[in-house]
Symmetry: C2
């Protein structure tokens, strides 16, 4: 059996210019980055008319191993191609940090991958680096402004905007900058986040166009002044240079799957302090180029799909036609209380206890008015009885189930799923609407998410959060959608409450605003925005040999 990278290296890639041509893109519509990657020009993106049907792939609350959401997304896209649809996939860009940390690459898996996977997982077309640079230009401008006289009266104790690096580097989480005397500026506490946690990444993914991107970057709340009033990036007159740095990053990237289905890979914000979806520009472009577009959102449906609907679809005016909810028999047994060593042992009993997680996530999707199909990502240890149990359970809810084998078989393993998605779209009416209005109060918005989606009894607020909400209301930064930062492993804010927890409260510890991106972040726990490297980093096994062969990327 081949590893992911070995499979990827054996792919028969088409020149990307041919992939683009099949989508109706002409030579002048694209900019090549080597033979197998290109960017689509903004003019070409603006030219297309949205016509495709949008399918979101999401999941139950995952186990730490993940349930194969990206793999199903890629495989489903390939399956649509196989049944004669003009299919386009829209995915997030991987971040370099995790590639060298624990994770290795992030471009699907097995026979459902996007390629060239080495490039996608390394620098790709430089979008991450552009974001890093724009972010750090703004950060440098803040400290420079203070050093050069601080006309804006910035309170150096209340600088919100942090530097970023696309690296897992725990030593940079908390730093002191400006040391060494007068020529080096004023000493202050600071910290680095990983690039994907930058507000600029979230902005890239929500912006309509370059001008909107510039305006939003100018609106970033960077600090408070000594009178306690907000200071925005535009007051430093730096958003023009930042936009200039982002001039190519804003263009969607086109690559292909192992089966030559076109894939737009563009933007990849954090799924906790940001909304965790690929860019609106790429999604809309995909909808203009394809008849059917398969996309995904980070984490389980309670976080990923909720933010996809309430933030991305709201800003992008998108109408999802169907949701594919990925589950594994193993994860459902995990939700039913099976221990790690029991996951391979068939047990309809554990499954029947854990399936409530799936049930709740189905209800969640339906509460947004979108039809749902369940995809069981098949493992060799799944028993027929377990699979039938899920089938029967979902059918009672009026939901179709498909057993997918895309990891092993590529698109062929997803044809049944693709057909069930098409049947569902044809039969069930899409009636999509967000579950709250952004005009409601912050507390009302959070309450609706917590009660409707998580199934919580109520919401508690820390004193700090109450103060922060007051401040956002005072400065008119409260009329944004809410971006919840919560554990992905549970419907609650306690990662150990599996299945479908009941009678729990959500506790909001902190409330921030991403005033440029246009959302309020409600944190229900400590969110790590700069990962660290493990004892033996994935980087240690990576190499490029004399003949150019790349090893150890997975």
């Amino acid at each position: 059996m081949y590893t992911d990278i070995e499979i990827a290296q054996r792919a028969k890639m088409e020149p990307i210019i041919n992939v683009a041509a099949k989508l109706g893109l002409k030579d002048e519509d694209i900019e090549l980055y080597g033979r197998y990657k290109c960017k689509i020009s903004i003019e070409a993106c603006n030219k297309v008319k949205e016509k495709g049907k949008l399918i979101l792939v999401t999941a139950i609350n995952p186990t730490p191993a993940g349930e194969g959401k990206s793999t199903v997304t890629v495989g489903l896209g390939d399956a649509f191609s196989r049944i004669g649809k003009k299919s386009v996939i829209a995915l997030r860009e991987p971040s370099l940090g995790p590639v060298f940390g624990v994770k290795g690459g992030a471009a699907g898996g097995g026979y459902a991958q996007v390629v060239p996977m080495e490039d996608i997982n390394l620098h790709f077309t430089g979008d991450m680096h552009a974001i890093t640079t724009a972010n750090n230009l703004l950060a440098a401008a803040i400290d420079n402004h203070i050093h050069q006289g601080n006309k804006l009266n910035i309170d150096s104790r209340r600088i919100i905007f942090k530097r970023v690096m696309d690296m897992n580097d725990r030593a940079l989480r908390n730093v002191v900058v400006g040391m060494g005397g007068k020529v080096n500026g004023f000493v202050r506490e600071d910290g680095f986040m990983i690039t994907v946690a930058s507000e600029i990444m979230a902005i890239l993914c929500l912006a309509k166009d370059l001008n909107d991107l510039k305006v939003r970057m100018g609106n970033i709340l960077i600090a408070y002044n000594l009178n306690g009033e907000p200071v925005y990036a535009k007051e430093l007159e730096i958003q023009g240079a930042m936009a200039l740095l982002m001039k190519d990053a804003i263009k969607p990237n086109l690559v292909q799957t192992l089966e030559n289905t076109p894939a737009l890979i563009h933007g990849g914000p954090f799924a906790n302090i940001a909304h965790g979806c690929n860019s609106i520009i790429a999604t809309k472009t995909a909808l203009g180029l394809g008849d059917i577009v398969v996309t995904e959102a980070g984490f389980g449906a309670d976080l990923g799909a909720e933010k996809f609907f309430d933030i991305k679809c709201r800003y992008g005016n998108l109408k999802p036609e169907c949701v594919v909810l990925v589950a594994t028999v193993r994860a459902l047994k995990h939700h039913g209380g099976a221990k790690k060593e029991e996951l391979n042992i068939p047990s309809v009993e554990k499954l029947s206890m854990g399936i409530q997680n799936l049930e709740k996530q189905i209800e969640n999707i339906k509460s947004f008015g979108v039809p749902v199909v369940v995809a069981i990502n098949k493992f060799i240890t799944d028993s027929d009885e377990e699979v039938s149990y899920i089938n029967d359970f979902c059918n009672k809810l009026g939901v179709k189930v498909s057993l997918t084998e895309v990891w092993e078989k590529g698109g062929e393993g997803g044809v049944d799923l693709a057909n069930k998605v098409l049947e569902t779209i044809a039969k069930e009416e899409e009636n999509f609407a967000p579950i709250y209005s952004e005009k409601e109060s912050i507390k009302d918005k959070i309450s609706k998410i917590a009660k409707t989606v998580y199934g919580a009894k109520g919401v508690q607020y820390s004193p700090a959060a109450i103060k922060q909400i007051g401040e956002l209301e005072k400065f008119n930064m409260d009329k944004f959608p809410v971006c919840m930062a919560k554990t992905q492993y549970s419907l609650s804010d306690n990662q150990f409450l599996l299945g479908r927890p009941k009678d729990f409260d959500i506790t909001v510890k902190e409330v921030r605003v991403s005033n440029g991106a246009g959302f309020i972040v409600a944190l229900t726990g400590d969110i790590m925005t700069m990962p660290g490297l493990p004892k033996v980093p994935a980087a240690n096994r990576m190499d490029i040999l004399d003949d150019g062969e790349i090893v150890g990327l997975f």
Copy 2:
């Protein structure tokens, strides 16, 4: 009159694929980055046979405004094209930091520029970002190693390898990292340099191929252990991943001038703590593709040309055929004691005092056995008498002088210079040799450079430098060429000693090793490796308009 960016935007660029084709490069030899930039594959670089003649453009000790070295390099390349030569230019890549700081762009000027200048000055093909990432992966691995048990016994007080960012950010010069408790690692002092100061940049520019790059990166001296012994990067087993990150950065970038002459722009190390030349790989490739190759080195001839000869040519086994020494009438009067406000006033007297700087730099070039031609970069304020004076002075030394007007007229303004270079090559014999053997002692090497090139009486060493030399000898890291870090404004180590100072000593304050790059750095003063932004950064005037027009890059 147009600004540089306006001229660049009006350029009639050829598709880079055509520029490449004229050099004999086939489609499979290049990787496009958009329509007007490409990388040349390593296979294609290895295939070509060196046949071209190598011309180095250097200068007298400059004024802070610079003497137009890059502009002459580009203009001379265009001039060679005009007189029917297959001409290729080999330049350094600009760094983003200075672009947003004081300097604006760095791709020649006036009608002697390389294009697309916006891209070249911004992210270009991502080489800088790859270096930043490889550098910071190693830095993260060092702190991670200590955090995870410190098997190598690294002395956290003696970590030499620093993090980098491609930004002018004084707040990062001196930082404390690892704060916030146990999960964030051990607290220690650290600092950031600008990316071009990274040893990895120097390595990229001296490496033969990807494997050599990997070996050299593994040889970087990163720290000393608690027993006082050196610790190298390879002990962290990270050089494979670093090489992987550099797999595209190692390929030379091809662009063109305003007049469509091919230009390889690749690598750009600091000219003080590193050797300040573009990559050996690009220079050798240019020599394989063209009949005549024009390249440059940072700062004046005492620093730039010396390092070009003693470090780059030594490692690359290159034989320069001729040197073009750029001077301006204004700078020579400055060396003769003219004040800033007097520079526009004709004065043969001041000129006659300052011309000794030119005389010494001519002698310096000749001491390496290479013929020299003087190029006067013409200003409107230059008087005929002043120009004749320089002509007569140089002719007495047997050196040809050309008045170049490439800034105003492009290649046409450099045709006379090009012809004089060709005449000189035809007439004078090149007899190139470095001025010292790398096998000599560190002090002997420094002494030869100081006495022969700078005209110093002797060399003084600080107690710290003496200790450091002893350490390098002890650990067998002393048999490398020496890279001098010295003010560019004077032949001495005192920037205020203009003209041709005599009876001075050079003081070496600090000696370091770049064990991966393969040179010893001797610092004669405080060298700034992380610039800061000025009161009004160039970034503040930059913008990209709704129609995509870029403004304020110069």
